[in-house]
Structure formats: C-alpha cells, structure tokens
Symmetry: C2
C-alpha cells in the first residue's frame, strides 16, 4: 500500500563541467516497478499517473521520487529511491522541507517531502544505464519544463545547499575522492555564485586541517599538475557537528 497523500522526492545534485547539475527523470509507470515492491503499491501509483497527463507527457521532467509506501520509514525510503535511481548507497542525503500547498498538484492532495542528495562525479555515469531512457542530468540554469512545483522544490534545495555549505563541510560530497584545490575552489565559487581569491581560499582551507595531501598529482594535463587531496574523515565529522565558517 502507498500513502496517496505523501510523496518523497529527491533533488539530486552533481557537479559537472563546473556547473551544478540536477538529475531528473521522466517517470513512467514501468519505472516504478523498481521502487514499489508490492504489486498493489505499483497499481495504486499507476492509477495516479493515469490521472495526471503531465506526468506522462514527454515535455515535462520531474524530480526522482514516488509516493511513500505505508511500510517504509520516511528517511530510509528516500535512501532507497537514491539507491535505485543511481545505484549508489551511502550518499549524502538531507531533508529539505515539506511542500504542502493545497493546489500544488492537480486532482490530488499531495504533500511532498523533499530531500537533496550530493553525488560524487566518479559515479555520475554509473548504473544510470539501467533506466537511462528517462533519467538525465540537467545544468541548474538550463532546466527543462518541470511538472507541478518541482522547479520551486529544486531552488529551495539549492538555497538550502548554499546555506549549508557556508556553515558545514558538505560541499566535499560533490567532489571525487581525490581532488585538487582548484576543483574545490571552483565548486565553492559555483555554489556561492561568487569569485574567490585563490591565495586566501587556500590559506583558509589549509588552516582547517581538513585536507590530507595524497602525495599524488594530476596526470596528462597540459599545465603544471596539481596536487591531489582527500579529506580527513575524523576532522570532517568534527566539523560537521561543530560547524565551520566558510563565509568567503
């Protein structure tokens, strides 16, 4: 059984071509089989699809999500959606907000609990293939037409990320395991939409002692190869609790 009045949607962010990207899908009842494990849940969801032409149109894209099955914990189910749509677990995932205006979805009263996830680019192409026809990355400033109030949800999630990134070390989740300081700086510049001073940025980062030099370097670049860093998990965990000050 599913809860007809509640959906769980994930705003999945990636960082590619120096842009924030969002993973969207064109949901089809066929795809839902991946999520909804009982035949009944699947049938119930399908009925909802039939009633909303926008859900089936090729013109509209939507956030990855489904209605919440009655036998699933909320946070866990968001994780499950991520796992199925990207093939990944242990992804950074956080509840954004619940959207509940009464006319946000035509024909039904649906509250959407929105989450945002941050995906490491090493995994951007993994597993998407299995449901690839209708799942696609879009640059945040070139979003297609989105169903219902999904655009509002995406920008609320982005706003939340932008806030979060200033006070907690979450941005790192958008980078590969080993990254250069320039990649990190560009990431912050893109999220905060602001140019940063390279020397000051490096000093600030290095004072946090969050980064570990891997003693490796980029290869095959037509310029001086940059050092690769990873981040120190224990200091990361401490900073996550205590907060940090990244107002640069």
């Amino acid at each position: 059984m599913i809860l007809k009045n509640i959906s769980v949607d994930c705003v999945i962010f990636g960082f590619q071509n120096n842009k924030i990207n969002v993973l969207l899908w064109q949901a089809e009842p066929g795809l839902l089989e991946k999520f909804l494990t009982t035949a009944q849940a699947y049938e119930e969801s399908k009925v909802i699809f039939e009633k909303n032409p926008a859900l089936k149109s090729d013109k509209f894209w939507g956030l990855i999500g489904t209605h919440l099955p009655t036998d699933e914990d909320l946070d866990n189910y968001a994780k499950k959606i991520l796992k199925v749509s990207t093939g990944l677990k242990d992804i950074f995932l956080k509840q954004v907000q619940t959207f509940g205006n009464k006319n946000r979805v035509p024909h039904y009263r649906v509250l959407t609990v929105a989450y945002y996830a941050l995906i490491n680019p090493e995994y951007h192409n993994l597993e998407l293939s299995s449901i690839a026809k209708s799942v696609k990355w879009f640059e945040i400033d070139k979003l297609p037409d989105l169903i219902f109030d999904s655009k509002e949800i995406v920008f609320s999630a982005l706003k939340k990320l932008r806030e979060e990134v200033q006070y907690h070390p979450v941005g790192f989740h958008l980078l590969p395991e080993k990254f250069t300081l320039t990649q990190l700086q560009t990431l912050y510049e893109v999220i905060l939409d602001k140019k940063l001073d390279t020397r000051n940025f490096r000093k600030k980062i290095q004072n946090m002692e969050l980064l570990i030099d891997t003693n490796k370097k980029q290869t095959n670049v037509a310029h001086r190869a940059a050092k690769l860093y990873k981040f120190d998990v224990s200091i990361y965990n401490r900073l996550k609790e205590e907060g940090l000050n990244f107002r640069i």
Copy 2:
C-alpha cells in the same frame, strides 16, 4: 475532511524565568473544535483520539497540533494552529522537519510536519485562558511525559533553533518589544548553553547596528536601571537574508 496520515505540530518556545519554555497541551476532542471547522473533520479526528489511549490519558502531554484538513495549505495551517492556541498572529514560525518513521504512532501511519514558533513574553499569558485547562508552559529541562515521539520533535526543534540563532537574528522574537542588553545576553546564553563575556557581547551586538536605543530605562528595579532597546526592522530584514555570525 482531514488527511489521516498527516499531522501538523508546533513546538512553541517561550523565554521565561531565564529558561526556554515549551507550550504543551493535553488534547481533548473538545479542544479540536477550535481548529477543525467542519463537523466531518472534527468527527474524523475524534475517531483517531478514541483509538489512542495515550492521547486521552492525563499522564501524557503533547505538542499543539492536529491532523491537516484537506482544504488547508500546510504552512498556513500551522499559523492557524498558533493563532488558535495562543491567540496571536504574526508570530515567527518555521518548518523544522517531517517525522515519518513507520511505527512512531501506534495503530496509524502518521507523518508529522513539525514547526517551531518563538513567542514574545509579553504575550505569554494572553488568550491561553480560553482553553487553559489543558495548555501549559513547561521548562525545557522539566518536560512531562510526552506522547509518541514528541520529545524527539521538541529536541529537534531546539537543535534547529540553536543552529538558527548563530547565523540569523531570530532570537529576538523571544524577547519583548523593548529589552535590555542583559536580557538579550541571557537569552543567548540559555539557548547556546554557554556563558558569554558581557563586554564582548555588547561590543559585538552594537557593531551590528541592529539595536535602537529607545531612550527609556527600566523602572522599579533595585539597582541601576538598564537602558531599553528595540531592534531595527530594516536591518533585521537584511541580516535575516544575509546571515550573521553569532558564534560567541
């Protein structure tokens, strides 16, 4: 009609006797009439009450809230709950999080969208009288037994407040319109659970230029009377957007 799977609960914070207080109630179907305007919504809610003995017990207290009627916007309905339970509008109110573990409420699958509100002490006694027998302030560290996972919700809201207060000028909503710097400092000390240095605190606050001297003073105090300040609404609005750094 109400949405049986969704409730809206408010964690209402006040600041009294130099403690954070929370407004709780012992809900009775009778009280619900104040919220649920159609007879049908009222009846449906009553049935839910009948099934959960904890809801009716005198031993347990709960957060102020009800199930969400189908014809109410989510955020607006939270405001309405506040209005009815405290008699006040234009209160600071913010969504905290949605709680959705599957067994958090016995017998039903209910997701709770939690909000927190900050109440100015000038209004602490206003209007409570109308439903007074079952609505009461409790100090945060002397909470009674709470139904379901309400205690977890209260502490999540407190954690959110504690974070919020460091980066946005929200704490002021817990003070009367005119307040002294010592009151403000005590408020921050209580929320952050940390002693602050008076001289440094005052310098920091005054540098923000958020406070306006009202040219008034306390009266009838057995010590030097403190100046009364209010805060500057335009600077408040700017800081609310830009954020501030109150990590003291």
